[in-house]
Symmetry: C2
Subunit: 373 residues, 2 copies
Amino acid sequence: MQNKVTPWEVKGNIDYDKLIKQFGLKPLSKLPKIFQEQVLFRRGLIFAHRDFGLIVDTIKNKKSFVMMTGLMPSGKMHFGHKMVADQVIFYQKLGAKVYMNVADIEAYNSRNTNLKELHEVAISEYLTNYVALGLDLNKCDFYFQSKRSTDSKKANAYYSLASMLSRHVTYNELKAIYGNTDPAKISSSLLQAADMLHPQLPEFEGKPLPTIIPVGADQDPHLRLARDLAKRYKLHKFIPISSTNHKFSFGLKGGKMSSSDPSSYIALTDTPKEAAKKINKYAFSGGQPTIEEHRKKGGNPDVDVSYQMLYYGLEPDDEKLKKIHDDYKSGKLLTGELKKYLIEKITTFLTEHHKKREKAKTIINQFLKKQGF
Amino acid sequence: MQNKVTPWEVKGNIDYDKLIKQFGLKPLSKLPKIFQEQVLFRRGLIFAHRDFGLIVDTIKNKKSFVMMTGLMPSGKMHFGHKMVADQVIFYQKLGAKVYMNVADIEAYNSRNTNLKELHEVAISEYLTNYVALGLDLNKCDFYFQSKRSTDSKKANAYYSLASMLSRHVTYNELKAIYGNTDPAKISSSLLQAADMLHPQLPEFEGKPLPTIIPVGADQDPHLRLARDLAKRYKLHKFIPISSTNHKFSFGLKGGKMSSSDPSSYIALTDTPKEAAKKINKYAFSGGQPTIEEHRKKGGNPDVDVSYQMLYYGLEPDDEKLKKIHDDYKSGKLLTGELKKYLIEKITTFLTEHHKKREKAKTIINQFLKKQGF
């Protein structure tokens, strides 16, 4: 099976080195120590970038920067989404002002008419999880595309940017990036580019600040478009957007976690019991068919979803992780034992997380009132 | 020469009856007396409409309605533009809330980068003329597309509408209407549709009000698009936009008045001396080559630009106009005499208008301060 990666499709086994070449990314090489504290950096799960040096320097020099992310709530927030949340919070702790947008106009344009429901899910599911995971709303500009700001200067500037960026892209460029060139797609793409660029307008942080946008391996074309538009725009000088690309999260059954298939993921609102059940029932195993065979040949942690979930962050201790890896590979650790360990880890995490969610709800209610939403 | 009328091209002699059929308009038939007070209605210069009955009823029942117009300042405001201004002010006096937008984003998207200059021209040239002609700024929502409102709720609602309308039109429809389907054109078209429709959103007049948009004979496709989009939009129920179509203004040398050719028009800021010079030098004559011939065969008022300028409003007295028409046709009135009469009329008008412009400037300064622009 050939590997195929576009923003709409991820098929086959992913060769990340090939992806780096295909998209013209830079591989992520040695980073200052502070980045090693984040498990996704430390374990090479964030594997490529564009202009990340700008952000590294900014952090080194303790200068201000912006971290931008967007979400289009479709169903539940799962451990795949958590990879982005972890990065958002990591940058915020390093001093970034976080911009977080809910792409509700994009959702409407791709046929979702129930904006009210979407707004509710964005808050009760996504934002609540973000706050429970550690997001500080006081250093965050959270907005819906359809309600950019209660500050009219900001609102006017943001939307006008989206409209005026249209001058700087051709039909053929959009066709090459998106395939689909419906007016709805074009309009959504330009709004998304404005999402990425507008924090640099004078109405927002006063002056252009370096902006980091962490994206999945497949989302690079959006970044490239925004970067190209920024260069061509006449009314404002933008700093090139910096981005990093992280690897795909493992779906329980292999492949990518997909919001449309609840048995492919564990949601951050799943109960520990539900999570345990999903792991036992669905989590693809890299072990051998029988215990005897497993003891003899060993398992394959590279394709074992339970091991990968630990690797992606549920086991933050590198030494422990290495031992699990080696024991599984040698056959000392059985699949059932590995799953049990993961279930323990995930139970602890979810129990703690759900407590934090309750606290988060109060914080969010106060925040929304203050925002005037 | 075949006649050809699109929003970008007007060629040949215009057969307005044919245009009505081509665009699917309704001819304008007998209107209540109040409309007869407006020279453009009385003389059939406003010749067609869509759903104008809604507005007639609204005025009859003294209900609230909206009058929407847009302008893209390119050079000077001339007597062609005045046809729209006269209608705007007529409706305002009948109780309409006027919405007036400066299409600066559209201008940027069609390659004009100097928005600051454009904003200055919009105020010093267009808005000043409008106020001098009688526009009451207290009953007017004047805005630039790039700065919709100092009320953030209004700004968010207006721009979001433009983005979300994109879902309801296909590439092929836009191609059929505009030919050009660059992203810039698509974006501008959707913003223009939002200009026409947004006064009906709850954030503006509280509830949807009937909206009248007077346009030139060639601008109907824009109206049709906005009307179609309104029907398809899911989040709000719009009243169909009403529109009227007026005939083309006569350029001095025949054809249409064109902002790009100063010898084709008389600007509202031309001095009486400049105007007289242009009329004497350029105004196309329907008269005969020699006085003898003219006395014998008579002139043709239908193609005589001086007569047409009187007909389009500079001679508001129908009886006097009829006498001029008949005398010119019979050969009693010579071209030189007709031009002299027009120059007298235009001198009176411009002298008075320039005085009013001075007063208007003070009013506008206060208005802009209050608006927070």
